[in-house]
């Protein structure tokens, strides 16, 4: 398959385990050392205690790290066989990521952080972006340098940035760990809407504060 044109419908884990884990570490995991597929259009909530490899899983899927044994494939295409250009295509067209550590550029304003991604994909208009800032209640922070925002505000900026692209899957690594319930609901609504428009899959991780995805059945997984 060509990763740039067709849509990605399935991310498959075959017997995958992080290099640093042993068989005993993974215990009753539903993902590590199993054959498992994430499918487009479905919502997944991956619950886990700290240190059970949530961020590793996101990094493996996002092709950011490959320190694992086993095989991850995109519609049958082995992840390890992707070229650098295909990886950046994957990140612009198929898989969106909200990393746990957010990775905003502190010296850029909040909205410039979002533009940096949107310039690459051209997915939203300036109004769309401002609308999302509005909706998440951080419109008045848009021009502030990202380094001056609170973590909860940063989390919302990073979420908007993650949405600024076409995607088949969106990976949200503890997306609401610093949000109150009201904001959690708004964020979940926004994610769910955006994903539904593209019939995309949502994969959210959590150590306790779940993203409150509405409607649709959510597949709960233990890591």
């Amino acid at each position: 398959m060509s990763l740039t044109s067709e849509r990605l419908s399935r991310i498959t884990f075959e017997n995958v385990i992080p290099d640093v884990f042993t068989r005993e570490d993974v215990g009753a995991s539903q993902i590590w050392l199993r054959d498992f597929s994430f499918e487009r259009g479905k919502h997944y909530l991956v619950e886990a205690a700290s240190g059970s490899g949530k961020s590793s899983m996101c990094s493996f899927i996002y092709h950011n790290r490959n320190d694992y044994r086993g095989k991850i494939s995109y519609d049958g295409r082995d992840a390890r066989s992707l070229t650098a250009d295909e990886v950046s295509g994957l990140r612009c067209q198929h898989i969106a990521l909200l990393p746990q550590e957010l990775r905003l550029f502190g010296e850029l304003s909040a909205i410039d952080n979002v533009r940096l991604k949107n310039n690459l994909t051209g997915h939203f208009t300036e109004e769309d972006i401002l609308g999302m800032f509005e909706r998440l209640g951080i419109a008045d922070r848009a021009e502030r340098p990202a380094s001056q925002l609170s973590i909860g505000q940063m989390q919302r900026v990073a979420l908007i940035r993650a949405l600024c692209q076409p995607f088949d899957f969106i990976l949200l690594d503890e997306p609401v760990s610093h949000l109150d319930e009201a904001n959690n609901l708004i964020a979940a609504q926004l994610v769910s809407e955006t994903a539904a428009r593209q019939n995309a899959g949502v994969i959210a991780t959590s150590v306790g504060n779940h993203l409150l995805l509405p409607g649709k059945d959510t597949v709960h997984l233990k890591l």
Binding site: Y62, N64, A84, D85, S88, G89, R91, C92, L97, P99, R103, F105, E107, L108, D112, R115, L116, K117, N119, L120, T121, R161, Q165
Partner: protein, 393 residues
């Protein structure tokens, strides 16, 4: 926006230092290259005779006692073979001397002048006048003679001035009828002769080789094999110090002070090469500064580079900023160095044009500056893309 992000850690001092150092090195390199090229063109236009030297053996006390017939002053076959093997000797010609007696007389301005004379001949390819004027046909009987240009000067400024004789131009002297008496081996003949040309290369009175072999046959003693006492050598690399070394080793004299000026040009060329090499070293060190400061810059920005690739930016998109930076700096340096070299070269352009040489090394200077900096830029861009590749992992 990428630019705003990556611009942060640029050290103006480091890049400025590179710019200045590279400009200095490249300018020195180009100036010496330009000087060297101009020197070469000056050398090749300066004097056609600079490519030729005439060799002879020194006259020693022994050869004087020997009565002049000694073979000590002539070159043996082995010596000539050795000479031909030298890398700087392109062609070797032997002077053939006359084995008979000659006297010449001129009826001129109402006075008769008569003198004993000598002739030498050498292969046609060493004659520096039009060969159609320099032929001997026994049937026509006229002997063309080639005289050193210096002789005319000697006559005009020495002899004619002191004796109250008219001075002669080159044109007139060609018209002067000369009677040559040749005798020996029981024959005596008188030939008409004329001066066919003046040579600045040959320091002898030369006649065509065809006349010499005919006359040596007829008037010569033909007793022994004749060995040449003088050789003319066309040089493939005038100024080569190996020439002087070989001459000294074999105790042979060169008639030509041209060697000295050639050696001067050679030494100046050598100096230019050394200076150029220093320039090249400075430029190379400057390139190292550039690579080092790029490395530091990429290193400092490595988190940003990783985050940008995580957003989906390709390495090429990230690298473009650095490549553009390198290209802008290097273009500035190239233009600056070309300007410096061309301005500095004006210092010697006047001196050069007085030699009749045209310093047209502009093209060379511009072309080599562009080629050198293109290579430097290519190396920097490649190194930079490697660094970015490493940083984006």
């Amino acid at each position: 926006m990428i630019i705003t992000l990556l611009r942060r850690n640029i050290s103006k001092w480091q890049l400025g230092a590179y710019g200045v150092a590279c400009l200095t090195g490249l300018s020195i390199l180009l100036v010496s290259l330009c000087f060297y090229a101009d020197l070469r063109s000056a050398q090749s236009t300066e004097n056609a005779s600079s490519d030729y030297i005439v060799l002879s053996k020194p006259v020693s006390v022994l050869s004087v006692i020997g009565g002049g017939t000694s073979t000590a002053n002539s070159f043996s076959g082995a010596e000539i073979e050795d000479l031909k093997r030298q890398p700087w000797a392109k062609r070797v010609g032997e002077f053939t001397s006359a084995d008979f007696n000659i006297s010449a007389s001129v009826e001129f301005a109402g006075r008769g002048l008569s003198t004993a004379l000598f002739f030498e001949s050498l292969p046609d390819e060493f004659i520096d006048i039009d060969l159609t004027d320099f032929r001997f046909e026994p049937s026509q009987g006229e002997i063309p003679v080639l005289v050193p240009r210096d002789y005319l000067a000697l006559y005009n400024y020495g002899f004619a001035a002191s004796r109250g004789m008219p001075q002669l131009s080159e044109e007139i002297i060609r018209q002067v009828p000369i009677q040559i008496a040749v005798y020996g081996n029981g024959h005596y003949d008188i030939f008409p002769a004329r001066i066919a040309g003046l040579s600045s290369r040959l320091n002898t009175i030369a006649v065509p080789e065809s006349f010499m072999s005919w006359a040596n046959e007829r008037y010569g003693k033909a007793t022994s094999e004749r060995k040449p006492s003088r050789l003319i050598v066309e040089l493939s690399s005038p100024g080569d110090p190996a020439i002087a070394e070989w001459l000294e080793e074999n105790d042979i004299e060169s008639s030509d002070d041209q060697l000295i000026s050639d050696r001067t040009i050679y030494l100046a060329g050598l100096a230019a090469t050394v200076v150029g090499a220093i320039g090249a070293v400075i430029a190379a060190l400057a390139v190292m500064i550039l690579l080092l400061s790029l490395f530091l810059l990429v290193q400092k920005n490595s988190d940003k580079i990783r985050d940008l690739t995580l957003l989906g930016y390709t390495r090429r998109q990230v690298g473009k900023f650095y490549y553009r930076l390198v290209i802008i700096i290097n273009s500035t340096v190239t233009i600056g160095a070309i300007a410096v070299a061309l301005i500095v070269s004006r210092i010697w352009q006047d001196a050069l044009s007085s030699f009749g040489a045209t310093g047209n090394s502009y093209v060379l200077v511009i072309a080599s500056a562009i080629i050198i900096m293109a290579i430097v830029t290519a190396i920097s861009v490649m190194a930079c893309s490697k660094m970015i590749k490493r940083a984006s992992r």
